[in-house]
Symmetry: D3
């Protein structure tokens, strides 16, 4: 199986971290792609809105020959737009990790980096229809980008946030979200009394599970466009 892993921010080292983590866990070929334009790290609604465009742009450029697409940014910018135009199944990191987490606990906690993600993820969980399963969302001050540059400095803050999800919010499973946090779940786990799930791994497992099922996608109407990459214009104009 060949999976297109799209990191819709513009920092290639985050793409590589996530792809390497997935390659260690999943028996599939991983094709990494990084956003061509937009914020270095996505930590605001404006950056996420631009990233939705960048993710479409990346999908149009690289999807040929792939069996599935892994939108590997926790918060899944442009998720439904990608599903609309993609010729193969698309699963988002937060989407996949949260649905899988639901089979491991009744009430899900989410911990990630960047304080603006809390309202954005609250709405994302509502869009998935999973609000009732949500125990709470806790963010730590450093963004994913800052955590990626110095993970050790963030471990205690992440551990405390996960613990508070369990002990204060009542979560019985916690998703540690973010491509930049790949692999930190197992390091944080000893500080937390409930299972901590790595969003990069869980999302990848959900991609594998979903990709195997029979495909099918809504047919979006063709539309003319201007100022887009040739591939994206082609995808919209089909």
């Amino acid at each position: 199986m060949r999976i297109l892993l799209i990191n819709p921010n513009t920092t290639a080292s985050v793409t590589e971290t996530a792809a390497a983590h997935v390659r260690r866990l999943i028996p599939a070929e991983i094709v990494p792609a990084t956003g061509r334009f937009g914020a270095r790290y996505i930590a605001s609604r404006a950056a996420a809105a631009i990233a939705g465009h960048a993710a479409l742009d990346a999908l149009a450029a690289h999807v040929a020959g792939c069996d599935a697409v892994y939108l590997a940014c926790f918060g899944d910018p442009g998720l439904l737009a990608l599903k609309e135009v993609s010729p193969v199944p698309v699963v988002g990191m937060a989407e996949g990790a949260l649905h899988l987490a639901c089979t491991r606990g009744r009430r899900i906690g989410i911990v990630t980096g960047g304080v603006l993600w809390k309202p954005m993820l609250t709405e994302f969980v509502a869009m998935l229809g999973l609000t009732e399963r949500l125990a709470g969302i806790r963010t730590v001050a450093p963004t994913g980008g800052e955590i990626a540059r110095d993970p050790d400095a963030a471990l205690d803050r992440l551990g405390k946030a996960c613990r508070d999800c369990a002990e204060i919010d009542g979560a019985d499973v916690v998703v540690l979200g973010g491509a930049a946090l790949a692999g930190l779940a197992e390091r944080v786990q000893p500080q937390v009394p409930v299972p901590v799930i790595c969003s990069v791994e869980a999302g990848a497992r959900a991609v594998i599970a979903a990709a195997g099922l029979a495909a099918g996608r809504p047919a979006a109407p063709a539309v003319e466009s201007v100022g887009l990459s040739e591939e994206l214009a082609g995808l919209l104009g089909r």
Copy 2:
């Protein structure tokens, strides 16, 4: 009062139609802006995702000197992202029209062009928290773009959809949504037993009402970016 009217699709004639309609109704200076890139008409999630970026791009280029921003696309692509970074109040066409419609009826119907808008608007209404007020959403097959090119051909279909909102869905007010449908509400009204509201007008009235109140906006963290317009990069990096 000086209002930046952003049409985030790339068809300048739609911008002019909406701006002209607003100028007739509202005693304010209207500064029109059209998306620099993206679909000619927005009638799918992919087009809307790109339009969110285009709307940010337009705001960054033209907001200086304006007192408020009117995001004049029914469906409001990028609405919360624009509110996040704008130095002045931003109101979306669907947002403003729907909140105003709530004061005129208990249960709101929505009619617009383009069949893919139904699920998109269903989620948009949920994001506004107004689902309980929604009687139903009905779309007609021609998109806003097609209706703009030949409004007469669409009048009966729009009238029937509005009537069905009232008689089948139980709406006691109907919003006729879409920049390309500016001015059609009064032409459709004779066919419909409940008030039909023009989204372009109602949204503009909501901009005026909201703009007068004391301002305030969340401070988004500065973030470095690549590949964006200079103005948009500046807005994100502040």
Copy 3:
């Protein structure tokens, strides 16, 4: 434009305060009306139930010649009943202020005087369908009536309540509710890190915005009655 401003409690000085505040802000003729019977200040469900009748009674007596009705009591007693029988648009103070506040922030806080208002407003917000937008409702011990008599004594308590809405409840905009609190928002604002909206002003702006749209009202069936004012009996019996 000629607006009937109904204060459904029986304290004429509150009516005058609200009318004067609106006249300063809104270019419209204001026709003030005070409830003929009921509680001096509305701070309980029983007082509000009686005020619904008093508001209908005032509308029947004074609506002739007006273009719109402003039900100027935060909590809007009798709102839907007035809309049902009024020949012109009716907007309530809480209704209008809350819908307008929704365009200025994602999560709305409400602060008012009188501890019994909290459950009453909780249900009112649910009736508007805006529960999901509500960050929290906080009341201070003095009722609107007591605050009207000595506003300076209440400023700090109101400021603290608004601040708690922002800092504890997560509101990004706060509505300071109550006819008796007209004009206090700007005095409280310096103590609060998010915008504070004056319900009297915001409600009035919503009246103006709504009144301009094409009218339409449900036709209530005529019903015979006893023991009511001649005008109200006439309105019901039409």
Copy 4:
């Protein structure tokens, strides 16, 4: 046990019908009271708003010496206001009948007379928090008042509405609502494949069940008033 049965409309014959029906079924002394002012029959929001005042007025006049209050109008105008000031338990006809119906079926249908009741009851059910249990509300054109004057003429229409609740809406129990419809449930039952509950009887059974439990009521703050009956002013001013 002595129960104050308040009919908040102004038609004494409806009070007598309901009281007689209750007396046949319930071993308690029934003290009937009719509204002093307001509509002859309650079939609109305006009439219901006035009836809330009239019900308070009746409670103030007659509650002395009673053990419980039965607000015997399906739709329960003023219910929470009465609970707020009453020295003894208050149960509304719709409130009691619906909660009892919930123990007899998963999904509840409601049938009553007067087309404007549908939105009013929809909101009432939401206020009770029972929306999820509601299969549907169906109204017949004649109002309760008209049905009371000629019940035979309405039986088939009521039967059809109850049947549609079961067969189309999926109700597994139907509440036939309205003081004026006392006793019609057993006459309609043969036409309906699921149990039909008489709201007058079910509400009365709920009064008995609730009245026996230990009392307790919220303490409303005293408030001065004008233009009310001496007893009601006394109740508010305590």
Copy 5:
């Protein structure tokens, strides 16, 4: 009236406590039945799942000649299954007590023994559709079984939990839940500022209220089974 009181756990002394408490309050013949298999006390989902089977088994064995069934375990294991196959009305202890409590207060608190009951009751309340009425659920560490063996030791903890429901969660009525807690409500009441309702008594009152109404039950299809008691196999195979 003859009521089958089913205690679906396997501790006969709890059955006797509940039956004796009901006999003191309700003028009906009480036929007690205890689960033939399963946990001594029900304080987990596994024990509750087994108890659903045991309750069906008891109903099949003892319902003949009874007019109604009282499923006397707070949490009502198997409630809808019993309603499905029973020839007479079935009311659960939590079901009946909570619906009755709704007529006594707007927001209901629940206090019971056994920490695992909190998520179970949260879901049960949701299944009843009463989530919006719920102020909070608080459990004390000893299970119902432990409280039954030494009620005096638990009084202060129960009192504190009820008080917290009122003062922190905002409950205006509290249900003290559990067959093993029969009669403790009146002993806890002096410590609590809002009414405390005994679930055993309130449930029994709801059984009486519901049993008097006309019956009717869904017809479950007959199904062959193995390994069940002869009576239960007969009930399923009818």
Copy 6:
């Protein structure tokens, strides 16, 4: 990986059908287990309540040496109870299939055999918190057991139900639910315009995805019991 596949009804041939289907698709060792007691097919709440006990009984008897448990009955009787006491992850067939389906479509349709399953599955979907994602549930008259005995006879009815889910209810993916329907999805697919998912396969894929993640389970308190199998008593009493 060694997976315990529990069929909680008492028909061993259904267990074998499901196990064989899973073995063809999933590279894992499947240990099949059939309920020791209860209904031959589960098509009512009573049968499902007994099956919850039977599933616990089977888990206690056979879980030793397994890495995960697949509760292979669509409707997942006893799901949360099994999760509570199991030493390894447990995923239910409906749980797993529905969460996976959510990544393939916005609105999920469900088709299964046995008319009583509709309300049961409606509540199950609500318990999962996925109600908002549900387009509709349609059942065909033959039960799973009857379909298993003669699948060809049911294909057209199943196809029509799936088609109605898509065309009338608006589903963009349909789950064909039931152990007895293993393998029918691909045969039904040609009649349906949206993807049809086999619940047996999808559930198994979800088991694999979930089982790989780090484990963790709530610790249920030990409880004494009577009349249960030695293994189940041991599991509860640990």
